[in-house]
């Protein structure tokens, strides 16, 4: 049976975590945050919110486990293949005009979207000129991303996605497989740096031609979405590109006036100059 959490209990948990550990979830979307807490309580056999608060107060390692669990790090390679096809057709030819192309993957989880991107860049002959910064809040996810290990059972789906995205090569050329994993080719990954960055609190750290932040906004409330949109605006070069998840919208934010839609369907935007 699912453990219920009231709105008041949720606020208590959020402020406890902020005070004790410095992570601020107060501007995360309530419905999914509550659901993550509830699922974690089921997963860790916690009987109620009081027990959860007590454990969080006393046990930093327990908090780390919970933080891993509640920050969603589910991802796929070439998720939404037509988005990648549009990226190939509309965005990469523009990026090709820059001598150095800087790309930020914000909220990269275990790196699957970054690996999809480097394959696109390789096929467009741009990878050599790219510097890719891949960041996430979750240190364990970043550690996995650095190893570039993909469960082998996913590769059949990812190969289909790759072909639908307009890929013309033999997808298996891009990885080495053992019994359980595919490892993305080390040579393709040489221009990627992974590091921790918190969109809630951290600032601009470079200027980019392209920022990818797909399916991260859905976990934020409108205030935080606005803040992060401002951060992205300030981090983009004039006419730099921003991509969001297919069902993420700028329509409900005032910041949308500072961007043009390159593809409204595939959620590709461009900073106005």
């Amino acid at each position: 049976m699912i453990k219920e959490i009231s709105n008041e209990e949720l606020e208590t948990l959020v402020s406890l975590i902020h005070r004790q550990y410095g992570y601020d979830f107060s501007d995360y979307a309530r419905s999914s945050l509550k659901r993550r807490f509830q699922r974690f309580m089921g997963y860790a056999y916690i009987g109620g919110v009081t027990e959860l608060s007590d454990r969080l107060l006393q046990d930093a390692a327990f908090f780390e486990r919970m933080a891993q669990f509640i920050t969603v790090n589910v991802t796929e390679m070439f998720r939404d293949p037509l988005f990648y096809k549009t990226l190939r057709e509309l965005v990469l030819p523009r990026l090709a005009t820059y001598p150095i192309i800087k790309i930020w993957h914000a909220g990269c989880a275990t790196g699957e979207e970054v690996f999809s991107m480097i394959i696109l860049l390789q096929e467009a002959g741009l990878l050599e000129r790219c510097r890719i910064y891949a960041t996430d809040l979750n240190a364990v996810s970043l550690h996995k991303a650095e190893k570039a290990l993909i469960p082998l059972k996913c590769m059949k789906d990812y190969t289909q996605n790759y072909l639908q995205s307009g890929g013309m090569e033999d997808f298996s050329n891009y990885y080495m497989a053992d019994d359980e994993h595919a490892v993305i080719d080390q040579a393709l990954r040489r221009n990627i740096v992974f590091f921790q960055h918190n969109l809630v609190t951290d600032q601009v750290f470079n200027e980019f031609q392209l920022i990818c932040c797909r399916n991260v906004f859905i976990y934020f409330n409108k205030q935080l979405q606005d803040r992060v949109l401002r951060l992205f605006y300030d981090s983009l070069a004039p006419l730099g590109y921003l991509t969001l998840g297919l069902k993420e919208s700028m329509m409900f934010s005032e910041e949308s006036a500072r961007f043009d839609a390159v593809s409204a369907v595939h959620k590709i935007f461009r900073r106005k100059s």
Binding site: I2, N7, A29, R30, S31, S32, R35, R36, R39, V72, V74, E76, R79, D80, P81, L82, D157, Q160, N161, Q164, N215, F217, I218, Y219, K222, Q225, G245, L246, K247, E248, S249, M251, F252
Partner: protein, 187 residues
């Protein structure tokens, strides 16, 4: 809020239900059906020619007299401010969208004003969610298993929720039409 969940064998039933309901929908409807991911889909247009069906985006306000369809490859939730919220966490019962996830969120947001309907399906998704709707004071309706192409979903719901009403599609149409009339009387 009427939340309708279904899986294998539910699309013809759903289309029939939407076809037979009176045009003036007096409440909001939200449809959660198991669907393929990463393939283009026209489900929103296929389901009904009568009423436009909206696949909501994140933070889109929920309006009355609208029919919403959970988008592919996301869970669909409801925020307290009356907007939709999306979630890309792990699938439940191998499904994203999951009926359980949306039903639980509907139960929490709408309490006694929630009505959950489960149609044909070959998985047990939705039963636990319907239990939440009923526990919050809402109503649960299940497609009569004898009329369902796949009866696993309705049977699982009836087993977990004895209070849920089992109905044919014709009875559901009558029930929903009456419901709207009584809601009008209340105003």
């Amino acid at each position: 809020m009427i939340a309708i969940g279904g899986s294998a064998g539910s699309l013809p039933v759903l289309a029939e239900l939407l076809e037979q309901l009176p045009v003036s929908i007096d409440c909001t409807m939200m449809i959660i059906v198991h669907r393929l991911k990463n393939v283009p889909s026209d489900l929103d247009r296929l389901l009904s020619l009568k009423a436009p069906i909206i696949e909501p985006e994140d933070k889109q306000p929920i309006l009355s007299r609208r029919i919403y369809l959970a988008p592919q490859n996301y869970h669909l939730l409801i925020e307290d401010e009356g907007t939709f919220a999306l979630d890309y966490s792990e699938p439940l019962h191998y499904s994203r969208p999951s009926i359980d996830v949306s039903f639980a969120s509907v139960a929490e947001a709408f309490g006694p004003r929630a009505l959950g309907i489960l149609l044909s399906g070959a998985s047990k998704d939705g039963a636990a969610g319907m239990q939440r709707i009923i526990a919050a004071g809402g109503t649960g309706i299940v497609q009569d298993p004898a009329t369902a192409l796949f009866d696993t979903m309705p049977l699982a719901a009836l087993e977990l929720c004895p209070e849920a009403l089992s109905m044919s599609i014709t009875d559901m149409v009558h029930f929903l039409t009456e419901l709207k009339m009584s809601a009008k009387h209340d105003q």
